[in-house]
C-alpha cells in the first residue's frame, strides 16, 4: 500500500518538473517582463537594477532552480496587472473556486450516476430516451450559454436568484466561505448548476455506456443463468464493475470542472482563480498564468493519486499487485 503510493508519487515528479519548466520558460522568456513592469519611461540604470532584482542576469538553470525554489515557498512573482504578489492573489481567490467546483462535482455525481444506471438498464424506455435527448443537449450547449440562459430566466425574468458574485462570505483565517450565509448559498446555486450540468451529462452517459458494456459480459450472463435477481445483478454485480472506469473519468473531470470554472466564473463574475486567469490572459499577465499552470498541475497530480487509491479500494486484482 505504502509502496504503491510512493511509486505513484515518484511518477508524478517528472510531470511536475516538466510543467514547472514550461511555466518558468513562459515566465522568463515570453514577452519582456522588464519593459512591462517599467512602463514607458525608464533609465538604463533602473532597467539594470530590475533585471538584477528579478535574477534575469543569471544562467538558465540557476534561474529555473531559483524559480522552483521560490514556487515551493509560494512565491510566484508579482502580477504585472495588479502589482501584487501572485501567491497572495491566488490564495485569496482559491476558496471561491474550490467551493464552486466541489458543489458542482457533488451535483454532477449525485444526479449523474443514478440517471446513468437507470438509462443503462432500461435502455429503451421512454424515460431513458427523454433523458438521453436532454443529455445530448447538455453536452452540446456551451457552458457559458447555459449560464446565460439560467441568468435570463432565474435572475432577469423571475428575479429569484442573484446573477453575479458570491454574496456575503465569512472569513476564517485564510479561508472565506459562502456556505454559511443565506446570500452566499443563493449565489452559489446558478453557478454550481451551470458548471455541474456538463459534467453531469458526461458522467451519466459514461455510466450508461459502461453499464451496457458490463451487462453484455459473460459474468453477468452467468449471474443471470444462476437465477440471481435483477436487483442483485444490476446494482451489485454490474454497478460495481462499472465503477472502475467511472472513478477515472470522475477524477479526470474534476480537472475539467476547474478548467470550466474559468468560463462559469466569467459569466457570473465569481471572484475565483478562473476569473483571475482570464483577466490576466487578456493583458498577458505572465506570472499569474505560469503560477496558475503549476497550481493546476499540482492539483491534477493530487487528484490522480486519489483516483488511484480509489481503484485500489474497488478492484481486488490491484491489491495483490498483479495485472
Amino acid at each position: 500500500m505504502f509502496a504503491f503510493i510512493l511509486s505513484r508519487l515518484f511518477q508524478a515528479v517528472p510531470v511536475l518538473l516538466v510543467v514547472g519548466a514550461i511555466a518558468f520558460t513562459m515566465f522568463a522568456y515570453v514577452g519582456d517582463p522588464v519593459t512591462i513592469m517599467l512602463g514607458q519611461d525608464y533609465t538604463m540604470a533602473q532597467r539594470e537594477m530590475l533585471v538584477h532584482q528579478l535574477g534575469l542576469d543569471q544562467p538558465f538553470f540557476v534561474q529555473y532552480l531559483n524559480y522552483l525554489w521560490a514556487a515551493l515557498h509560494g512565491n510566484f512573482g508579482v502580477s504585472y496587472r495588479l502589482a501584487r504578489p501572485v501567491g497572495a492573489l491566488i490564495l485569496e481567490r482559491l476558496p471561491a473556486t474550490i467551493e464552486l467546483s466541489m458543489t458542482a462535482a457533488f451535483l454532477a455525481v449525485a444526479v449523474g450516476v443514478p440517471l446513468g444506471v437507470y438509462t443503462g438498464i432500461k435502455r429503451n424506455s421512454l424515460g431513458s430516451r427523454l433523458i438521453m435527448i436532454f443529455s445530448l443537449i447538455g453536452v452540446s450547449l456551451p457552458t457559458f450559454l447555459i449560464g446565460i440562459l439560467l441568468i435570463l430566466f432565474f435572475a432577469v425574468l423571475l428575479g429569484w436568484l442573484p446573477s453575479f458574485g458570491r454574496g456575503d462570505v465569512i472569513r476564517m483565517a485564510h479561508w472565506s466561505t459562502g456556505f454559511l450565509t443565506l446570500s452566499g448559498l443563493r449565489s452559489l446555486i446558478l453557478p454550481a448548476i451551470t458548471l455541474g450540468l456538463f459534467q453531469m451529462t458526461l458522467i451519466m452517459r459514461l455510466v450508461r455506456a459502461e453499464m451496457m458494456e458490463v451487462l453484455r459480459s459473460d459474468y453477468i450472463k452467468f449471474a443471470r443463468a444462476r437465477g440471481l435477481t435483477d436487483r442483485a445483478i444490476n446494482f451489485g454485480h454490474a454497478l460495481k464493475n462499472t465503477l472502475v472506469p467511472v472513478i477515472t473519468i470522475i477524477g479526470l473531470n474534476i480537472g475539467g470542472l476547474i478548467a470550466f470554472s474559468i468560463v462559469t466564473e466569467t459569466v457570473f463574475q465569481w471572484p475565483g482563480m478562473g476569473l483571475l486567469l482570464v483577466q490576466s490572459i487578456g493583458v498577458a499577465d505572465i506570472p499569474v498564468m505560469s503560477a496558475y499552470l503549476q497550481l493546476i498541475a499540482l492539483l491534477f497530480v493530487g487528484i490522480n493519486l486519489v483516483v488511484d487509491l480509489l481503484y485500489y479500494a474497488v478492484d481486488p486484482r490491484l491489491r495483490l499487485g498483479k495485472r
Binding site: I151, M289, N304
Partner: protein, 301 residues
C-alpha cells in the same frame, strides 16, 4: 461505386436513423448559409456605411416593434442579428475546421510515427499525449492563446488572431488523433501485407502512407467529426471569454459576448439567437458524430 454506396449497410443505417438524417440536413443547411453568407444574408454587418443607429435594438419580427427586414432584431449598432449570425457562423466554422485539420495532420503524423517506430520515440510521444490528455483541452487552448498574446507584438497579434486560435485549439486536440492512429498502426504493422511490403523493400514512409493510413481513416473520421463540435465550442468559449476573435471579426462566441452586456436591459435577442445557433450547430455535429461512430463500429451492430 455510387450504387454500391447506396446499397451498403452504412447507407442503410443512415436511412434507418431519422436523427442522423435530420442532423445531416441541419449541418448541411448551416454550412450552406455560412459559406454563402455574403450572398444570402439580408444585410452586410461589416458595411459600416449602411448601419444606422436609429435602427438599434429593434426586437425580432414576432414582437410588437419588430420589422420583417430585421427578422431576428438588431444590436446596439443597428446591425441585423440574422446577418451577423450568418457571417459569425462562417467564421466559427472556419476556425473549427482549420483547427481540426491542423490537429489531424499533426496527430496522424505523430501517431503513425509512434506506432511504426515504436521504442523510445513511441514512449516519449505517448507520455506527452498522456500528460496533455490529463489537462482539459480548453485550458491548453487558453494558455497557448495567452502565451501568443504575450509573445507577439500587439498589432501583429490582432491581425493573425484567427490563426492563433486555430493553432491553440489544434494543439489542444491533436493527442486524440495521435493515440487512435498509433493504436491502429501497431495493429496494422503486425499484419502480413505490411510485413510483405517491408520484405520487398518498400520505404517505411510509403508503407505508412499508402498501406497503413487508409486503414486508420475510419476512426479518424469519427474523431474528427466529434472533435469538430468541440473545436467550434472551444473557439466560441475563448471568444466569449474575450481572448478569442475581436469584435471586428465577430464569431458566434464574440456575438454572444457582446450581446451578454444587454441581457439585463431586456434586449435578450442579441445574445440568445447566436447562442441558439451555436447550440443547434454543435448538437447536430455531435449527433452526426455519434451516429457515425456507431455505424462504423461493427461490434455494436
Amino acid at each position: 461505386m455510387l450504387a454500391r454506396f447506396f446499397d451498403s449497410d452504412f447507407f442503410y443505417s443512415f436511412r434507418r436513423n431519422p436523427v442522423a438524417m435530420v442532423s445531416a440536413a441541419v449541418v448541411f443547411m448551416i454550412i450552406v448559409s455560412a459559406v454563402f453568407s455574403p450572398w444570402l444574408a439580408p444585410h452586410n454587418p461589416f458595411d459600416l456605411a449602411s448601419l444606422n443607429l436609429l435602427d438599434s435594438f429593434k426586437p425580432p419580427f414576432f414582437q410588437a416593434d419588430g420589422e420583417l427586414s430585421y427578422p431576428l432584431g438588431t444590436d446596439d449598432q443597428g446591425r441585423d442579428v440574422l446577418s451577423a449570425i450568418m457571417y459569425g457562423t462562417r467564421i466559427s466554422l472556419t476556425v473549427g475546421v482549420l483547427a481540426i485539420a491542423f490537429a489531424m495532420v499533426v496527430g496522424i503524423g505523430l501517431g503513425l510515427l509512434a506506432g511504426y517506430a515504436g521504442g523510445a520515440v513511441d514512449a516519449l510521444l505517448m507520455r506527452i499525449v498522456d500528460v496533455q490528455l490529463s489537462f482539459p483541452a480548453i485550458l491548453i487552448a487558453l494558455l497557448v492563446d495567452g502565451i501568443a498574446r504575450a509573445a507577439l507584438p500587439r498589432e501583429f497579434h490582432d491581425r493573425i488572431q484567427l490563426w492563433v486560435l486555430v493553432v491553440a485549439i489544434g494543439i489542444a486536440q491533436w493527442p486524440q488523433f495521435a493515440r487512435t492512429v498509433r493504436g491502429s498502426t501497431m495493429v496494422e504493422r503486425g499484419r502480413e501485407y505490411v510485413m510483405a511490403a517491408r520484405v520487398i523493400g518498400i520505404p517505411s514512409v510509403r508503407i505508412m502512407l499508402s498501406h497503413i493510413l487508409p486503414n486508420v481513416l475510419g476512426p479518424v473520421l469519427v474523431i474528427a467529426t466529434l472533435n469538430l463540435g468541440l473545436a467550434v465550442l472551444s473557439e466560441a468559449t475563448l471568444s466569449f471569454l474575450g481572448v478569442g476573435l475581436p469584435p471586428t471579426q465577430p464569431s458566434l462566441g464574440t456575438l454572444i459576448r457582446i450581446g451578454n452586456d444587454f441581457l439585463f436591459s431586456g434586449e435578450w435577442w442579441v445574445t440568445i439567437f447566436p447562442g441558439l445557433t451555436l447550440a443547434v450547430m454543435v448538437l447536430s455535429i455531435n449527433l452526426l458524430g455519434d451516429w457515425l461512430r456507431d455505424a462504423l463500429n461493427p461490434r455494436l451492430r
